[in-house]
């Protein structure tokens, strides 16, 4: 072999040795890395397993794992407590637990669970081991193996018996309340009828007395008889007002779109307005959702009051409107006698008329307040005695949205 050839071979050998060393070094590093990452995976696995075990044992809700055919595989402590079965000693199927009347719903829900892989907010009645019926809420999902084949179903089961019972109780209470409200309403009508009948009779009798004795009675007696009549009228008005007040109930059945602009204009045609009083609508009033009769009552009472308490040579009443976020704000301003500050709260209370006049029973404003309250709004006033009063009230734009 030539020296040149030997040199080539030696160089090749040297390269091979160097390459081998390099390879060994790389391998060593890699195996170190591998060991390190496998340690990390092991730690992570142990940590996750212990977390899962902790969740399984500690969740307050019942946790159930079952086979696709419904055979129960696992109960946590809460589940054992809820259902009453000891899964280690007896085997049960999910269908043994479900209330017979809820079977159909159970089947359709399980089909959905299989189709989607999960099912949320399933509610059903179950039988415990001791025959007790309970309401439960279930969030379930399918457990898949690594080939994505469904192997089991798992679910978090919550006992909602208490909540369900409360719901049922609430429904019953609401029904009862509606009924007693209605009864009260009817009762108010009967009472008002029974109270008004004697008044009518007295009025007739007094009239006959007057008719039959026109020559015999002196001036003073005729005067007294007319006072009896006036008193009767006041009494009748009082009864009507009490009936009206008791009739203002939360009733959403007549909620429709109401153009308050038209409503107020119609009212101004009905209400008696003396010649010296001018009524101005300063803004186009909005169309709102509400009950026509109730809104009429509100405007009629406030406008009538403004007219009633006008004492100036030229009376001016201004009706205005503003859009404020979730509310409509109306205002009715007059230049009448005004209300002293200390009465501002009191006037909204029933039978608290500040002015003890013949045509105010003191119920009007309390009806207005009751209605405004129903609409989730507020009512208040600003006033200066002898200068005038402005009543403000707001109505919520979504009257149904109130709680």
């Amino acid at each position: 072999m030539s020296q040149e050839k030997i040199d080539i071979l030696q160089r090749a050998l040297k390269r091979e040795k160097a390459a081998r060393k390099a390879a060994e070094k790389i391998l060593e590093e890699k195996s170190g890395e591998l060991y390190f990452s496998s340690q990390k995976i092991k730690e992570l696995l142990a940590e996750k397993s212990s977390q899962l075990q902790g969740i399984f044992e500690n969740i307050v809700d019942a946790y159930v794992v079952m086979e696709i055919n419904g055979d129960i595989l696992k109960f946590n402590d809460s589940a054992t407590k809820l259902f009453g079965y000891d899964i280690d000693k007896e085997s049960i199927n999910a269908m043994d637990l479900i209330h017979k009347e809820d079977y159909e719903h159970a089947f359709s829900s399980f089909s959905e669970l299989q189709a989607n892989g999960f099912y949320k907010d399933y509610e059903t009645r179950i039988f415990t081991k001791y025959g007790k019926v309970k309401w439960v809420h279930v969030n379930g999902s399918i457990v898949f193996d690594k080939d994505k084949k469904p192997v089991a179903a798992q679910g978090i089961v919550r006992d909602i018996t208490e909540i369900k019972n409360l719901e049922l109780q609430k429904e019953k209470l609401v029904l009862k309340l509606e009924k007693s409200n209605d009864e009260l309403h009817q009762y108010a009508h009967i009472v008002s009828h029974d109270l008004k009948s004697p008044l009518r009779s007295i009025d007739a009798l007094v009239n006959w007395l007057k008719e039959d004795n026109l020559e015999k009675f002196d001036e003073a007696s005729i005067q007294n008889i007319s006072l009896i009549e006036t008193t009767l009228e006041k009494m009748e008005q009082l009864i009507s007002d009490v009936l009206n007040y008791s009739s203002v109930a939360a009733d959403n059945s007549n909620i429709i779109d109401i153009n308050t602009n038209t409503l107020v204009k119609e009212l101004l045609n009905i209400i008696y307005i003396p010649n010296h009083i001018e009524i101005k609508i300063c803004n186009t009033l909005p169309t709102i959702k509400g009950d026509k009769t109730k809104l009429q009552q509100v405007f009629q009472n406030l406008i009538s009051n403004a007219i009633k308490f006008s004492d100036k040579e030229k009376g001016l009443i201004e009706i205005d409107f503003k859009n404020i976020d979730d509310f409509y704000q109306f205002s009715i301003k007059d230049n009448g006698i005004g209300v002293e500050k200390r009465y501002h709260e009191r006037i909204f209370k029933i039978f608290h008329s500040v002015n003890n006049s013949k045509d105010s029973s003191g119920i009007g404003l309390s009806i207005v307040k009751k209605i405004v309250d129903l609409y989730g709004g507020e009512i208040w006033l600003t006033s200066e005695p002898n200068v005038g009063t402005t009543f403000f009230f707001t109505l919520k734009k979504q009257p149904n949205g109130r709680s």
Binding site: I8, L9, E16, I26, L27
Partner: protein
Amino acid sequence: MKGIVFREFLDLVEEKFGLEMVDEIITKSDLESGGAYTSIGTYSFSEMLQLLQHLSAKTNISIDNLLLIYGEHLFAVLGNSYPGLLETYADPIEMLASIEDHIHIEVRKIYPDAELPTFIVEERTENSLVMIYKSSRAMHHFGLGLMNKTFEYFNSSATIVLEKIKEDGTEVKFIINKN
């Protein structure tokens, strides 16, 4: 560049031109690795470039042609090492069209830091394929060699035309028509 590419390249040079040629091109090149390559190592691409240049000068074969032959050689090596990969395909067009989406992903599983070219499919019919090759290495003929062998492997053949989009060969259009 992965060591296996150097190992296989030098093995091919030794097989075709003898150990002397291997010794000569290594000795003439200025190599950081000193020419000691292990298939699991990673080396600078400039080493491959020097080896190719010296081999080309010595043999009077163009670098492109050297790469073509080398590509053809490497296909067999890879085919032997990873037979499973080839078996997943029934058709060469299908296999070539999936370089980017499948083959390179598999390659990265074995060599996470491999620097791979991109092959963007522009047009594909049952019997034809137009792809754009992009790589700073300009080793399009290496790709051509692999492709030739691909058709051969499926007992088929094709006419493959290369059109340079960039003069330096870093972007090349491959127009492949099955015969």
